[in-house]
Symmetry: C2
Subunit: 207 residues, 2 copies
DNA sequence: TTAATATGACCGACCAGTCGGTCATATTAG
DNA sequence: CTAATATGACCGACTGGTCGGTCATATTAA
């Protein structure tokens, strides 16, 4: 019955995609291996031929999202050269990704956070992944800011803390938007806040 | 004919406290009724004499935290009269509450968020509570800001969006701090960001 | 006063259902 | 044929919530 699937990588991928779809619909906690198997069109046992556990599927999903955004942001950094522009593009991309791509994955994103915070239990690895992801974000952003300071575009602010502040604003607005999408449009809100921030750190007068 | 002289309110409260303790240790999802019963020193069935379900226990816990903060913030609003001062005190109180009181309740707070977002399922009530809480925060903050604008302390900014931004910054920094407490001290970070924000909205020159 | 009785708080064994993961078997490929 | 792979029935661990029975104590009758 099982046909001529040959490429293991490909099959692994298709199972992962099915898992992501189910996660998206139900969230990690409520996603059942049986659902994933059915969605992938394979037997439940087959999943375990490709993934050690439900947790591994979850981790891979997290990495998928992270690396997806990373690719886009790397592109921005590479193609745009003014730190101020980089910053504003980066932030915009982040909010758009959250709003559009991730819209359907809300429950999963929340589960990432919820699990990422619990660093005591056996899901510690998710905490580690998330910590690394945030460190990476912070590093990228503070790099941009440092450049801006160096070339005189920005005031002499604390790059790391500023990076944290930007990420915080995006995450926090996202959270409010998720709870009640009526109050504002995520991208607009993020943009306004980013503008305010930029205005605050841009050197007014370069004599 | 009440046989035993049991203060029902008091007992209810003690069970709730036990639940909060267990939630704090394990998070809502992993907290078992059996654990709560043992911690409270009562039989499992007894819990159901006071609370309809595990979910109700969870909701009450949320309300407990929310109302606790609300009390403190009301006091600030009442006692301090300059909007700029109110704002800065309010933010400080919020971050302190998060850092100190809520430190041990991290897994629960994350569960509030995670559950609050899932507004489709039967826990819809948590979503509603959370939405109300956020609306309340936003309302308080934008009220302060409106006052500040009216009396000329602040620039003519959008009170609601500014309120959202402040909340976002606090929530977002909290999140990062939770994931990695090393990178900064929550209260310091919040204070710096708040100062930056205040500097940006304070009217520099009045005539 | 005290014994009989009524009340409802309390309990934990139990139920019914769930789900992640395993493994004996089936299918296919070579 | 043998090895590799796929499968889903099955297992065992776990859990939220229930229910019939118990018993401490308030009430009452004598």
């Amino acid at each position: 019955m099982a046909p001529k699937i040959v490429n293991r990588q490909e099959k692994r991928r298709s199972i992962l995609m099915a898992a992501m779809k189910v996660f998206a619909e139900k969230g990690f906690t409520k996603a059942r291996m049986a659902d994933i198997a059915e969605t992938a069109g394979v037997g439940k046992g087959t999943i375990y031929e490709y993934f050690a556990s439900r947790e591994e599927l979850f981790k891979e999903t997290f990495l998928f999202f992270f690396e997806d955004f990373k690719k886009k942001s790397d592109y921005i950094i590479r193609e745009v050269h003014s730190p101020a522009e980089q910053l504003s593009m980066y932030i915009k991309e982040l909010s758009q990704t959250l709003r559009e791509t991730h819209k359907d994955f809300l429950p999963v994103i929340m589960d990432f956070w919820a699990e990422g915070v619990r660093n005591r239990n056996k899901m510690a690895s998710i905490h580690k992944l998330m910590k690394e992801a945030y460190t990476d974000f912070r590093h990228t952003l503070s790099g941009i800011i440092s450049n801006g300071i160096a070339n005189g575009e920005f005031e002499e602010i604390d790059p790391s803390l500023s990076a944290s502040a930007i990420m915080a604003a995006v995450d926090g607005l996202f959270l409010q938007w998720v709870i009640d999408p009526q109050i504002f449009d995520l991208c607009m809100a993020v943009e306004e806040v980013a503008d305010f921030f930029l205005k605050g750190i841009l050197k007014r007068d370069r004599i």
